[in-house]
Symmetry: C2
Subunit: 344 residues, 2 copies
DNA sequence: CTGAAAGCGCTAACAA
DNA sequence: TTGTTAGCGCTTTCAG
């Protein structure tokens, strides 16, 4: 931003007034074609570009939206970001992406920082820590100023705003049911992050399916573990002490880890043990074997969220008109599960 | 940005002048403690926050940097982003992240858009298409305005600016050498994106190692293939028609695909065929077997790039003082290669 | 110690 | 058709 030319300089150089230049560059009907041509030519020659900052200050609108991502290394979020980015670009918005690293403090700081004129609205995913602490004042504050927020993936009922989420219970239900239909009797579930309510929902769906089909849940087959090393140990432990012929992994990494453990024990997948993962990312697709997974349509989630926000920013929807959109999932069959012998 | 209170409103409410409020909030020595206290209290009560836009307009500095990422789904870039983000945050900068999707046009648009006062400088990775087209005028234009750019990972000699890159040739050389030392005789290389000069460098390193150790390169063992389906076919083909006991994959996905192909053919890894991957991401770590890989320290790359840029922005380095920093790699041994029997 | 005024780059109402 | 002026929110001389 150094040698950049301003409207003022053009005005001086051409001996016209600042507003004439402004109008000419905006192709106003008020200006004679001659003057317009002269000014526009000069502007082009000197690569004039309007200062976005000044425009935003004037319009009280920045045409940029803030994106909050808990963890960019997570394939789901990376894909969601793409979806958001796509819609934003299409509609002429830029995005400013911030990674919270699942930290409450970082989340609060970031939102404070951005909500000072920098952005018009947020598309955010709440961090694990925030969800654990159940402290949502930073959301409330921003909402109170009528800055719209659309929450995606992880949400909480105490935050009153638009949401775009996965039908976790149902998806887990269907995945578990699939395992049962494919002949599995002793189905384990592997979950992480105790604090995450979405994981609770997934366990709920799992339990629901078991119960529905007359299987009594077995506490020993439910693993909740964040730490990776411990997870390997716990899976091995579980396999040592229990009959298991199906595993439902609630996230992608633990699905890959389960696969590794089984491969190492020379357990045949899916002949002896089937695995279903959640979130249809790279690890599922490129694993050995490729994992049957609950595909989450992260991209769509991002698109829907961004669309909702922008519609709100542009007044197509009233600020107080709040909605939760549910993005369905789809089970993608690959090689880690047996082919269904009962159609349903 | 609705009910947000401004300095002006505070001034009116308290019956003082605007500049007094400004100074009080900035803790200026010119203002009496009493007035200061009064103003600061009022400001806090009403959650006053300075408008970033106005500040930036004033200072001709936005304290934000633009990040260009060709593809956020790539684990390497996602990690690099984290590194950049970390440094930026530490130094009080915010970042605005843009995904170019490897598109020349998107890259040009994005850079144009941001270089209008929105950002102070760029940390960018050139897109594949741009590299293919060899059109770098958008970089030149920005550089000419003395807006600093730091290129990371992919660069080109025609763009005269700071760079932070991997020592591709050497890394590929070392990886290939490792395979040879571990007993492999017939080493294949799998590469993608013909347009990418970094991939050329990696092939170069591979060839260099072969030649150095007296192995004549075999054209049939060099695969360059972007399309995934075709890649599987070509690998199978190669394995059908050639003796191969080592594979060096120039990126992570093709490493995973090679693993899948070998597993499917019931080839024992590493007993019969060894694999080394490039970029030490999730796929390598969580694959079956986990892949020995060239670890690229994406995070460090991001940190170094961001640090360089910010140092420049803050005048610690002159604009014209241009440097290329090389980030070394490290071979991480996992289970896809045999243990070395020759120490070196 | 406090305030008036100019200015960052731009737009827009109003005059000329 | 063109120019003057005020103002977006803030900082910063310079007077008072």
């Amino acid at each position: 931003m150094n040698k950049r030319i301003t409207i003022k300089q053009i005005a001086k150089a051409l001996g016209v007034s600042i507003s004439t230049v402004s109008k000419a560059l905006n192709d106003s009907y008020e200006i004679s074609d001659e003057t317009k041509a002269k000014i526009q030519e000069y502007a082009k020659l000197h690569k004039y570009k309007p200062n976005t900052l000044a425009l935003s200050l004037q319009n009280k609108k920045t045409k940029t939206i803030g994106i909050l991502i808990p963890n960019i290394l997570n394939y789901y979020f990376a894909r969601a970001l793409r979806g958001i980015e796509k819609v934003a670009t299409e509609k002429g918005y830029s995005i400013i992406t911030c990674i919270t690293n699942e930290s409450y403090e970082k989340e609060v700081e970031t939102m404070e920082m951005l909500s000072n004129g920098t952005i018009d609205g947020f598309v955010a995913c709440v961090s694990v820590e925030t969800l654990k602490l159940k402290k949502f004042d930073h959301f409330h504050d921003i909402l109170e100023e009528e800055t719209p927020i659309v929450l995606y993936d992880r949400a909480h009922k105490d935050i009153k705003c638009d949401k775009v989420v996965t039908d976790n219970i149902k998806s887990a239900y269907k995945a578990t049911r699939f395992l049962m239909k494919s002949g599995c009797k002793d189905i384990a579930i592997i979950s992480t992050s105790e604090g995450l309510n979405i994981n609770k929902f997934r366990i709920k769906g799992y339990l629901k399916a078991l119960t529905k089909y007359g299987v009594t849940p077995n506490e020993n087959l439910i693993i909740k573990q964040d730490n990776e090393i411990n997870l390997i140990e716990r899976i091995n432990n579980m396999l040592d002490n229990n009959k298991v012929d199906g595993i439902f992994s609630v996230d992608e990494v633990s699905g890959a880890i389960a696969t590794q453990v089984l491969n190492k024990r020379n357990v045949k997948i899916p002949e002896e043990v089937s695995i279903i993962g959640f979130t249809n990312g790279l690890l599922s697709r490129y694993g050995s074997p490729p994992l049957t997974s609950v595909n989450r349509f992260a991209h769509t989630t991002g698109e829907v969220a961004a669309t909702r926000l922008i519609d709100k920013l542009e007044g197509k929807i009233k600020f107080d008109d709040i909605k939760t959109e549910i993005i369905k999932t789809k089970l993608v069959e690959r090689e880690s599960t047996k082919k269904l012998f009962i159609k349903f």
